[in-house]
Symmetry: C2
Subunit: 303 residues, 2 copies
């Protein structure tokens, strides 16, 4: 599978962003990509730096104009496209949604972000209702392989990656919009980026799958008080193999389109040499559906 990741900066113009993304899908296809992933909410500035009702005007239906544009690009180039958009499902009901367009342009899958963050400058709980599909995590067969998608904040939750892998995903894509607050960048920037990449590499290792993250790049804002100096989106889109090795990593500052060949057959080798799926203790995982497990000893039956 040739994997393409389109790391962009975004302007306020939906048309310009969409045009840029579509052009880069073509570039990636020309460079050998078969599955191309765009970044989270690529049609505009990141909309959640403040809580502003006017931002809802940017939302659209799925399927709708953006999925149709991506479908045309997919079928024109014969590539699978993973896109991300601000979905209006009904009046007052919005999602942070990813879509998978198969290489013939068919809408193969719709994933509504399950884990929604809310932090100063990332006020997503104001905008997005968490996904409610059952199952919420999964994957879809495409012309070039079985594709799972999670979105941004999902990347911090091993449960999301595990459930996506258990559904048969060979690669998990993470469209993402994460950056540094300029005031924190010097003290915490390296550690924050490293933790972010480490988590997704760990999903690759734990599950024996490829993992690819496409992140936004460039400075945006400030908008409102949450991030008083705006956000430096940190780019660094990357793809990791099933051993967690980073095969390619984009720049922290510049736009970049990565294209990497991923040998899906290696999953078989990795999973039989480090056979974690063989040994999961499914009989002992029931408490993962609890919020907290008020301080049990690990040997309550013995004590």
């Amino acid at each position: 599978m040739g994997v393409g990741l389109v790391q962009m900066s975004c302007s306020a113009s939906r048309d310009a962003n969409l045009e840029k993304a579509v052009a880069r899908i073509g570039d990636a296809a020309a460079a050998g990509a078969q599955v191309v992933c765009l970044q989270e909410l690529f049609t505009g500035h990141y909309p959640c730096q403040s809580e502003d009702h006017r931002q809802f005007d940017a939302a659209e239906a799925v399927p709708g104009p953006t999925t149709e544009a991506l479908a045309r690009a997919a079928s024109e180039h014969g590539v699978v496209v993973v896109g991300s958009l601000f979905e209006r499902r009904a009046a007052g009901l919005f999602h942070n949604t990813a879509v998978v367009l198969d290489a013939d342009g068919a809408l193969a899958g719709v994933y509504r972000k399950m884990h929604i963050p809310d932090d100063p400058g990332y006020y997503e709980k104001f905008y997005f209702t968490p996904g409610d599909a059952r199952p919420g995590f999964g994957s879809v067969a495409t012309r070039f392989g079985r594709v799972g998608v999670c979105v941004c904040w999902d990347q911090w939750f091993p449960e999301a990656a595990r459930l996506t892998a258990l559904s048969g995903a060979e690669i998990i894509f993470y469209p993402t919009a994460i950056g540094w607050l300029p005031d924190e960048r010097e003290a915490f920037g390296h550690s924050q980026h490293d933790a972010w990449e480490t988590m997704m590499r760990s999903h690759a290792i734990a599950n024996g799958v490829f993992v690819a993250a496409t992140n936004r790049v460039g400075h945006e804002g400030p908008v409102g008080d949450g991030a008083p100096r705006g956000v430096d989106f940190w780019g660094a889109s990357f793809i990791a193999d099933p051993n967690g090795r980073v095969l390619a990593r984009a720049d922290h500052e510049a736009e970049e389109t990565l294209v990497v060949e991923c040998d899906l057959a290696s999953i078989e080798t990795v999973r039989t040499h480090w056979p974690f799926l063989r040994d999961r203790r499914v009989d002992a995982y029931g408490d993962l559906t609890r919020r907290y497990v008020d301080a049990p000893r690990f040997d309550e039956r013995l004590s």
Copy 2:
């Protein structure tokens, strides 16, 4: 919490290994450690390079002579000790067991390894029955903080770390015995070690806890055909903070006793700034108790 990790090589002499471990507990205490973790099965050579019934003779009861020796060391130095031993629970019923001795020498907790590996040179399924306590994962209050323990192969399973953290653990210890097969070391050694450390760092990040691994060091074997040139145990014991930053890491080749001060109060700050526990989708994690989830789409309800 002052955390001490005792990374040793082991001889065939149980008495010599136990004497060395007890001496190093004293060294760690003198250097400021309050909780000291020994490596997996520290009283002997790693017993699972081959399937040999004679190895069962090394197993012992819990409580028993090793826990009693560790309890004396704990109370003498006023430190918590996390130990590991080959437990004989009944005729034909053995476990790979970790114990927590509180700082007064009391046996505070017994953890029986839940995930059991089986690979050439690591034939643990022949020796060890998987732990069957309910809950299988948890933690125990000690004089210096709430301690969780998992063992070696458990480190590859995010479920184990999550359940341990949900029980209130402030630090998760991993007594470990992992190494390189000499024939693979040049080609895969770096990647294997990096994946191992990455997984445990990810547990620290995902759960906002400290994580500490104590690994064996030195060459052992060969014993039998599974690892025809024996095993180079790779040391590299380490401790990571709740952001996944490695605070200290021991050598790959040499014995070493690490002592690191861990600020448990930082857990509060990390967990409120990256509030992953707030946002877990416990309503959508039910399938984690399934072995595999035969290829669902993520939008079955929509399709």
